[in-house]
């Protein structure tokens, strides 16, 4: 084991390397490229015994990845944003092949407008696809989670592909100190891939991904996938224990920070949770009983663990870095359904922020805490808030004024 500085992207590549993946089909997209470039370099130098193939689209990439997994090799791939959306048909299709592999998503806002900045609209679009979904908050977690994801997806009780999410720029291009485990220790945690009977062999012809006739057969196989995904909750807990004993770090399904005696908690996923954590410390210093609850798993949804973690709090501030247009935050909607009807359920307040790489400032966390404490005291949930500062609005107004001047000049025929 050695400690070094790595970007989130490099940590993802190290995860694939330590998992000894056989095959990496890929297609470049910002901010994911460093992952596949690094694997490409290792493949050429022989440091990884892997076949890396650049295909012509993410749709092709997911098809090739799953077809290879369905032939019996361990597969890794990575994408982001529009790439994940372009692959969406195949995400849904290949989850049903029950041929597990790991796909890293480096999350980035989706068009329109076009942006490179990070948010979770891309990865949440894959929420119902059948891919399990794990969200990372630190660079170390990225490396560890890739290893955990293989063991989880390949477990005979699960056998589903797994999406590991890290935030673009905030994690992908940020260097943090990371422990890179020894290959032997990883081998003790992650056994080699057993494809079971899902594979192509001359002596064992098989038809995979076939059609069914009628809703009865269709429902049966869809229910099976759902139950397998739910089973992944128990399996995850076992794996988290095994990971801790083999590699020394603990990654529970739901991370709680100073929430045991908290009056209200921040509830969010991804790298911005580390900012929430810092805000918790400062609010605690000021004598305010605030905590953080961060699910690492979103699919399967860790329902019981979340209910336990939130059983005693009076208010939850859900901070969504996504926006279901016309509805609101996805984490908020899901948490409401999880806690509805529970005895003494907390008041749940919704905040949308951090879209397209937009920062969430410390003061905003303080404001969110104040709004949520007030709501909890009154016993009624406030209207959802779209976080936006006056200074941001002023900047957008400036852009609009420039746009107007340019347009008027063009219309008047004057050359700029």
């Amino acid at each position: 084991m050695r400690r070094t500085l790595l970007t989130g992207n490099a940590a993802a590549a190290w995860g694939a390397r330590l998992a000894q993946v056989d095959y990496v089909p890929s297609f470049p997209i910002t901010p994911q490229t460093e992952i596949i470039e690094r694997i490409g370099v290792w493949a050429e130098s022989g440091e990884m015994e892997v076949r890396a193939v650049t295909v012509e689209s993410e749709h092709a990439m997911i098809t090739a990845a799953a077809a290879a997994a369905a032939t019996g090799v361990r597969v890794f791939s990575a994408t982001s944003s529009q790439g994940l959306l372009y692959a969406m048909e195949m995400l849904y299709a290949v989850a049903g092949w029950r041929a597990p592999f790991v796909l890293v998503n480096v999350s980035r806002g989706v068009a329109t407008p076009v942006t490179l900045g990070s948010d979770h609209d891309d990865v949440f679009a894959a929420r119902d696809s059948g891919f399990l979904q794990l969200h990372c908050a630190t660079v170390q977690e990225v490396l560890d989670t890739v290893l955990i994801a293989y063991r989880l997806g390949e477990d005979p009780r699960v056998r589903l592909p797994v999406l590991v999410n890290l935030d673009g720029f905030y994690l992908s291009f940020t260097r943090e100190p990371v422990w890179i485990p020894d290959a032997d220790a990883v081998a003790g945690f992650l056994p080699s891939f057993d494809p079971e009977n899902v594979r192509f062999r001359a002596s064992e012809p098989i038809s995979q991904a076939v059609a069914v006739l009628g809703g009865g057969a269709y429902s049966y196989f869809r229910y099976e996938m759902h139950l397998a995904a739910e089973q992944a909750l128990t399996v995850y807990d076992e794996i988290a224990d095994a990971f801790e004993s083999a590699l020394g770090r603990r990654h529970p399904a739901v991370e709680t920070y100073r929430s045991d005696d908290a009056e209200v908690v921040f509830f969010m996923v991804g790298s911005f949770a580390t900012k929430a954590r810092a805000a918790v410390d400062r609010l605690r210093d000021a004598g305010i009983a605030v905590g953080l609850v961060r699910p690492r798993l979103l699919r399967p949804y860790p329902l019981s663990a979340l209910r336990r973690a939130l059983a005693h709090v009076r208010g939850v501030a859900v901070i969504d870095q996504n926006l279901s247009l016309g509805k609101g935050g996805v984490l908020h909607t899901e948490l409401c359904s999880a806690l509805y009807g529970q005895r003494e359920a907390p008041v749940i307040a919704s905040f949308i922020g951090g879209l397209g790489g937009r920062d969430i400032a410390d003061e905003e966390f303080y404001e969110i805490s104040a709004v949520t404490r007030k709501a909890a005291a009154e016993g009624s949930a406030p209207a959802p808030r779209l976080l936006y500062r006056e200074s941001e609005l002023r900047e957008v107004r400036k852009l609009q004024r420039v746009a107007r001047v340019e347009r008027d000049e063009l219309a008047s025929g004057r050359k700029p």
Partner: protein, 312 residues
Amino acid sequence: MNETAYRRINDLPSTHLLAGGTAMCAGCGGLQALQQIHDVLGPNTVFVNAAGCMTLLSIYPFTPFRGSWLYTAMASAPSGAQGIRDALDILIAKKRLPSDEDVSVVVVTGDGAAYGMGLSATSAAIDRGLDFLYLCYDNEGYGNTGQQSSAATPHAARTATATGSAGYPGYKKNLFDLWVANRPTYAATAIAAEPVDLARKIEKAANLRGPRLILCLAPCPTGWEYDPRETTDIGRLAVRTGVWPLKEYVDGAVVHTVVRRPRLPVEEYLSRQGRFRHLFEPARNETVITGIQARVDAYWERAGAPGEEKGA
């Protein structure tokens, strides 16, 4: 080229690997071709299917194949072939699979995917030199959904989306030349109604490595509107009228493999199919029929006499 096991119809395999009783339409020219192809390729084959008519071949818990099957999606069957081929190569190279467990990878696609949605994935597989056989059953329309016009639909054919008296206004895209322009290992047109020619082409393609196209015209009773028992006759007429030239590209040259003389007028082919009936009833549309004939004539003029090809 002279080393072939298939010289006469009696040389064709007498054991059949594709079971009957599938959900395909009676008289399906695509299934007829696939049947003959599976027999020549043998059981150590994985068919990677693009969404289309053939999707309904494998319906849980049944499959008609002696070999294997993977259903992918409409646009990405060649990418599925890439994943399987790469995975098998990896397993054999890492000695996790004995080489006699290897299977050959065959994409099965209709013209809807091959001429349109699947073109990007196909083109890229050729770029990468993927070792695969690409079998297109071309029934000249989106057959599985009721024969809407596709990029493979011939000029003037009536389809579910070209119902007027002019039929389909466009011209059939030249998929064979698109492949040939990218220098694949092998490319051939074929038809099940000429089974010896088809068997020889499969035999030749099976012994080569790299991207290989078999483009089969697939007469379609429901889409082309004729009685299912006429499938072979219609197929033969497609060849005899010169509408469907049988040719192959190998080692940089295109050669016509079957040329039936004399070439019959195209109307003998057109008039047998309901999709062209509007060219003959209620009144004969001389302009369109002459135009179709002229295009076929021009093709064969460019191609030159067999044996002295001009690279059609």
